[in-house]
C-alpha cells in the first residue's frame, strides 16, 4: 500500500468512485446512479460503461449454486447415445476428452478440458466463494487475487459453444445412426441458460459493494 501511494494518487479514497473510464476508448465520465434496466453507453464509442445491478449478492449466489448442481449433472451424465444394429455407444464430457487424448489429438483434449471443465468450474467456485462473503458484507479471503483470476478466466469458458456443437453432432450422426438424447444434453442446455444470465453480471461491482479491509 505504501509503495502504491507513492506513485499513484488513488481517486476513489476521496471522491468515492465518482469517475468511470470507458475501457474501449479512454473517455472519462462521472458516475451516476442508473434506473432499473438502464445501461450506460459511451457517447464516443458506444461501448457499455455500466448497467443497473438488478441481482443482489443473494440472488447471484442462488444462481451460482444452481449452476454448480447443473454443471455436476452435465458432467456425470452421458450427453447422447448412438445406436447401430443393436449396438449402443454413449459418452460423457470426460469420455470425450479421454478419447481425443488417446486418438492422438492431445491438443484438442487439453483445450476441451480447459474450456469445458476446468475454467467453468474455477469460475463458478470463485464466484460462489466471493459472493458467499459479499452476502455477509465482507471481502472473502484472497479477494483481490481471486477477482483478478476471475477476470482472466472469463473469456475462456465455452460451455455454450459445446451445446451447439452437440446439436450439430446429433444432426450429423442422425443420418447414419439411431440417436437418443441423454440427460447430459438437457443439463447442458440448462447450464447455457444460466451462463447467459451471468454474462450480464459484472462481478467488478463487488469492489464497490464490499468495504476495503483496514490494513
Amino acid at each position: 500500500m505504501a509503495t502504491a501511494a507513492r506513485n499513484t494518487d488513488c481517486l476513489h479514497a476521496h471522491s468515492s468512485d465518482a469517475l468511470l473510464i470507458c475501457e474501449h476508448c479512454d473517455t472519462v465520465y462521472r458516475r451516476r446512479p442508473l434506473a432499473r434496466g438502464e445501461v450506460a453507453r459511451c457517447v464516443r464509442c458506444g461501448a457499455e460503461l455500466d448497467r443497473h445491478r438488478a441481482l443482489s449478492a443473494n440472488a447471484l449466489l442462488a444462481l451460482i449454486l444452481t449452476a454448480m448442481i447443473v454443471f455436476v449433472q452435465a458432467n456425470i451424465w452421458p450427453i447422447f447415445t448412438l445406436g447401430l444394429n443393436g449396438q449402443f455407444s454413449a459418452t460423457t464430457l470426460w469420455g470425450m476428452i479421454v478419447t481425443m487424448w488417446e486418438q492422438g489429438a492431445q491438443v484438442v483434449a487439453v483445450l476441451a478440458a480447459a474450456t469445458l471443465f476446468f475454467f467453468p468450474m474455477t469460475k463458478m467456485l470463485v464466484m460462489g466463494w466471493l459472493l458467499w462473503f459479499a452476502r455477509l458484507g465482507r471481502r472473502a479471503p484472497g479477494f483481490a487475487p481471486l477477482m483478478v483470476a476471475l477476470h482472466r478466466v472469463g473469456p475462456w469458458t465455452m460451455s455454450e459453444v459445446f451445446v451447439l456443437g452437440a446439436l450439430v453432432a446429433i444432426v450429423k450422426a442422425h443420418t447414419y445412426f439411431e440417436v437418443v438424447a441423454d440427460p447430459g444434453i438437457y443439463a447442458y442446455g440448462a447450464l447455457t441458460l444460466l451462463i447467459t444470465i451471468f454474462a450480464g453480471v459484472d462481478m467488478r461491482q463487488l469492489w464497490e459493494q464490499t468495504p476495503e479491509p483496514k490494513a
Binding site: A4, L11, I21, L111
Partner: protein, 217 residues
C-alpha cells in the same frame, strides 16, 4: 477542452482489472506502453497499471499472422476420418458443411459455415484492418471500427464449434469395424487457430483506434 475528455488528457489511468480510476504521476507511465513500465501497481487489486495494453501492435500482429498460418492447414488438411466396413472418408471443414447441406440440414450447414469459415476470416480481415488504420492514426469511421472490434471480441470463441463436433463424434462413433470416427491433424490446427485469434483480439487495444496521429510521435 474537448467535451469528452480522455483519461490520457487528464493524466488518469483506469485499472483494466478492477476499473479503479487512478491519477498518474506525470511521465511515470508511457502512453504506448511499449517501454518498461515503472511497475506502478493498482492500489486496489495490485495489477500493473498501464495506459495502453503492452506492445499491442506487435503482439496482435504476431498472433494474428500465426493464427492465419495455422488456418491454412486447418482448411486444407482433413479434420475427421469416418471409416466403415468398406469405405474410408476424410472430411475437411468445407466438406463437412457440404455434407450437412446435402443431407437437408441447411440451417446447421449455415451455422457451421459461419463459425468455421466466416468468423475466422472476419477476424483476420477486421483485426488486420483495425491494426493498419490505427497504426496510421486514421480518423476514418472510428465509431464503426470500435463496434467492429467489439463484434470480433464477442463472436470469436464460437469458432470452437467444429472442434467440439469432431471430438463428440470421435467419442461416440465407435462401433469396432462397422463404423468409426477418428480425428485428423486439421482439427488440431483449427483449434490452435481459434486460440491464437482469441489471444490476438485480446491483445489489441481498442483505445488505439481513438488515439490518432498526434500521439504517435
Amino acid at each position: 477542452m474537448n467535451a469528452l475528455p480522455r483519461a490520457v488528457d487528464l493524466d488518469l489511468i483506469g485499472c483494466r482489472m478492477c476499473g479503479l480510476v487512478c491519477r498518474n504521476v506525470p511521465g511515470n507511465v508511457k502512453l504506448d506502453g511499449d517501454g518498461v513500465d515503472d511497475a506502478m501497481a493498482c492500489p486496489r487489486c495490485g495489477s500493473t497499471l498501464r495506459r495502453r495494453k503492452t506492445n499491442s501492435y506487435a503482439r496482435t500482429w504476431a498472433l494474428l499472422i500465426a493464427g492465419f498460418l495455422l488456418y491454412i492447414p486447418a482448411n486444407v488438411l482433413p479434420i475427421m476420418r469416418t471409416a466403415s466396413l468398406n469405405d474410408i472418408d476424410d472430411n475437411t471443414i468445407i466438406s463437412g458443411v457440404v455434407e450437412l447441406w446435402n443431407n437437408g440440414s441447411a440451417d446447421l450447414a449455415v451455422i457451421v459455415f459461419t463459425a468455421s469459415i466466416v468468423v475466422p476470416m472476419l477476424k483476420f480481415l477486421s483485426l488486420g484492418m483495425l491494426l493498419v488504420s490505427s497504426q496510421r492514426g486514421s480518423d476514418w469511421a472510428r465509431p464503426q471500427r470500435a463496434r467492429l472490434y467489439r463484434l470480433v471480441e464477442f463472436i470469436g470463441y464460437w469458432s470452437m464449434l467444429d472442434v467440439f463436433v469432431v471430438a463428440l463424434l470421435t467419442a461416440l462413433v465407435r462401433f469396432s469395424v462397422l463404423s468409426r470416427v477418428e480425428p485428423l491433424p486439421g482439427v488440431i490446427f483449427f483449434g490452435l487457430t481459434v486460440v491464437l485469434t482469441m489471444l490476438a483480439s485480446m491483445s489489441f487495444d481498442p483505445r488505439l483506434i481513438w488515439d490518432g496521429r498526434s500521439n504517435d510521435d
